[in-house]
């Protein structure tokens, strides 16, 4: 852990049978900033996340974190470099408690294996104690304390989204990849969550790569925005620049956002 490093994506291409999901995409996430990745449905945003986190293999191109090439690494190796992510569709165990789910995030930071846990070595107990404490800190920060003993799968959608965020934070990441973190929340909850994201960026100094369709939140949070369409980068810049880019308006935002007149 020698401070956040830039995440650089260059010429990233991903092909599935007969379909190019990403086509030579490149951008850089500067340390300590929020970088938004937007674009129409099916533009390749989640695919990009999947490559960054090692779930998909890139057909060509490179992803570098500082000096480290990530495209050949396994998911858990990438996680161990300090890259954490949330999932567009929830990936929580239905019956695990929230506490266990959050502790899962600390897997990469802890050591006790089968032998140590099975034999309950003092080392394992000490480790568990320290990490549970930090887990509670993070839960308190997110307002998840009341839910710690509840099974994650039965919670309301919005809370589950927060649990996912908490699990990613528990990994103590340098780079946080958030795939639609506030989808399914109402405006109040959205603002609350957006504030939390801004807060961790500031207090932990980590880099955030954010996929989100709520333009209000993107505008407020993002330092830089990259826009994808059909796997290709069509625009990049500050939120203000991007929002007025005619190409972006055509492909993504729609000509006039207020097409519907109130009745």
């Amino acid at each position: 852990m020698n401070g956040p490093q830039p995440l650089t994506v260059t010429g990233l291409t991903v092909r599935f049978a007969g379909l190019t999901a990403l086509d030579g995409v490149g951008f850089t996430v500067a340390p300590g900033t929020v970088h938004a990745l937007i674009g129409p449905n099916g533009a390749g945003k989640s695919t990009c996340f999947n490559v960054l986190s090692g779930v998909y293999r890139a057909t060509s191109g490179s992803v570098r974190l500082g000096g480290r090439e990530l495209t050949r690494e396994t998911p858990h190796a990438i996680a161990s470099l300090g890259v954490a992510r949330t999932f567009q569709n929830l990936a929580l165990s239905a019956h695990s408690t929230v506490a266990d789910t959050l502790l899962l995030g600390r897997h990469r930071l802890t050591r006790s294996g089968i032998l140590a846990s099975g034999l309950r070595l003092p080392r394992a107990a000490r480790e568990a104690g320290r990490h549970t404490e930090r887990m509670r800190e993070i839960a308190a920060f997110l307002g998840l304390e009341p839910y710690l003993d509840a099974p994650a799968g039965l919670l309301p959608y919005g809370v589950q989204k927060l649990v996912e965020l908490g699990r990613a934070l528990c990994m103590e990441p340098d780079v946080l990849l958030l795939d639609e973190p506030i989808a399914g929340m109402n405006p109040t909850e959205r603002q609350h969550t957006a504030a939390l994201i801004a807060s961790v960026r500031d207090s932990l100094g980590l880099s955030v790569l954010l996929v989100e369709h709520d333009m209000g939140v993107v505008m407020r949070l993002a330092d830089t925005v990259t826009v994808l369409d059909f796997g290709r980068k069509i625009a990049e810049g500050t939120p203000g620049e991007v929002q007025n880019d005619p190409e972006v308006v055509r492909a993504y935002l729609g000509e006039h956002q207020e097409t519907e007149t109130p009745r």
Binding site: S46, S53, G54, V55, T74, P75, H76, I78, A79, S80, A84, R85, F87, Q88, N89, A91, L92, S93, A94, H95, S96, T97, D100, L103, L104, G105, H107, R108, T110, S112, G113, I114, A116, S117, G118, L119, R120, A124, A128, R167, M171
Partner: protein, 366 residues
């Protein structure tokens, strides 16, 4: 009285009763008890794999065989009196090596166990049973073929677990009395170990892999390695169970380690309750003891008739019973027998979490 105190007392009482058994029970019951303890150890291992990691395995009988025969070979006479291979190692070392061997063989199968999931793995492991039977019948030098080979008695620092009588408090202690204590000790150790694993970091990791394989990788869990490790651990439990069973049998026969045995272990963990240590123990006791009890008391049970008199034979009755128990446990007691409303202290599983797995091992999505 506080609940904690009640619970302590309950455990104490149960422990004392178990420890006193060899002074009162005849060999038949002790032997049944040792079988049940061995089965419980094996079932705990299978429950780690199937209940917690969500991997169906039909190969458990195979790993039991590896443990049992491994022990025979390692501890067997090195002389050629029997015409069988034996390394003549000290029995304790042989037992440890046999468990390790089961783990190693499990490790060899890990590439498949890691690649193949769900029902495919279940049936793929069936291959191990059949290949295992083939080897057991053909590798005469190691296994003694169809009629099997004798199991050298265990001895710890010159104290032999054989049929020579050591008199304790006026009671002659022969092999079963001694094995009873050995079984208790191994079962307790195995159960505590498994609970430690399940509640700790590895337990969380295997649950995560079961529910969301891809996500687990992204969270930083090495999926293949963890799954392989749990397969190895489960094989080692089976190996240990195999050693204990062999010691109780005093003779290992290949026919025992067939598909039926594997199916019985699956039945145990479902009857007892998937994913919990106590469930495995309760299920193992149920499945092992039912046929013994029914056979022994066949004359005095109303529905069961003595062999040769027509009607339902005890063997059949016990199969009806345990087949029906599997179905009933799943339909009416989703947590298995371990979740029955019994006093808290008697319910070891009350605090082991890891409830029955429910999500399918498939993720798809957006």
């Amino acid at each position: 009285m506080s609940e904690r105190l009640t619970s302590r007392l309950g455990w104490l009482l149960g422990g004392v009763v178990l420890l006193a058994m060899p002074f009162y029970l005849e060999r038949f019951w002790l032997q049944a008890g040792v079988f049940a303890m061995a089965a419980a150890i094996g079932a705990i291992g299978l429950n780690l794999l199937t209940g917690s990691a969500g991997q169906l395995s039909l190969a458990h009988a195979f790993f039991l065989a590896v443990g049992a025969y491994g022990y025979c070979v390692f501890a067997g006479d090195s002389g050629s009196a029997t015409g069988l291979t034996g390394w003549g190692l000290p029995p304790v070392l042989a037992a440890v090596l046999a468990v390790a061997l089961a783990g190693a063989v499990g490790g060899l199968f890990s590439p498949i166990a890691g690649r193949v999931r769900g029902p495919y793995l279940g049936i793929a492991t069936l291959a191990l049973i059949f290949i295992g039977q083939h080897v057991l019948l053909n590798a005469h030098d190691l296994t003694g073929g169809f009629n099997g080979r004798a199991v050298p008695p265990l001895s710890v620092f010159g104290f032999a677990f054989d049929d020579s009588a050591t008199v304790v408090a006026g009671v002659p202690f022969r092999s079963m009395e001694k094995l009873w204590y050995l079984g208790l000790a191994l079962l307790a150790a195995g159960a505590l170990f498994a609970r430690g694993v399940l509640r700790g970091r590895p337990g969380r990791a295997i649950n995560a892999i079961r529910d969301h394989q891809t996500a687990a990788g992204v969270i930083g869990i090495p999926v293949a390695r963890t799954r392989g490790a749990i397969f190895v651990l489960s094989s080692m439990y089976a190996g240990l169970a195999g050693v204990l069973l062999a010691l109780a049998f005093q003779h290992a026969v290949p026919g025992y380690f067939g598909i039926v045995l594997s199916l019985e272990y699956l039945a145990m963990i479902v009857i007892g309750g998937l994913g919990t240590v106590s469930g495995a123990v309760i299920g193992a006791a149920f499945v092992t003891l039912i046929p013994q009890v029914l056979t022994k008391y066949s004359e005095s049970l109303p529905l069961v008739s003595a062999p040769g008199t027509g009607g339902v034979a005890p063997g059949e009755a016990s199969r009806y019973l345990y087949g029906a128990a599997v179905v009933a446990a799943v339909l009416f007691l989703p947590g298995g027998l371990a979740r029955l409303p019994v006093p808290r202290w008697a319910r070891k599983g009350a605090r082991d979490k890891a409830p029955a797995p429910t999500s399918r091992n498939m993720e798809v999505s957006t």
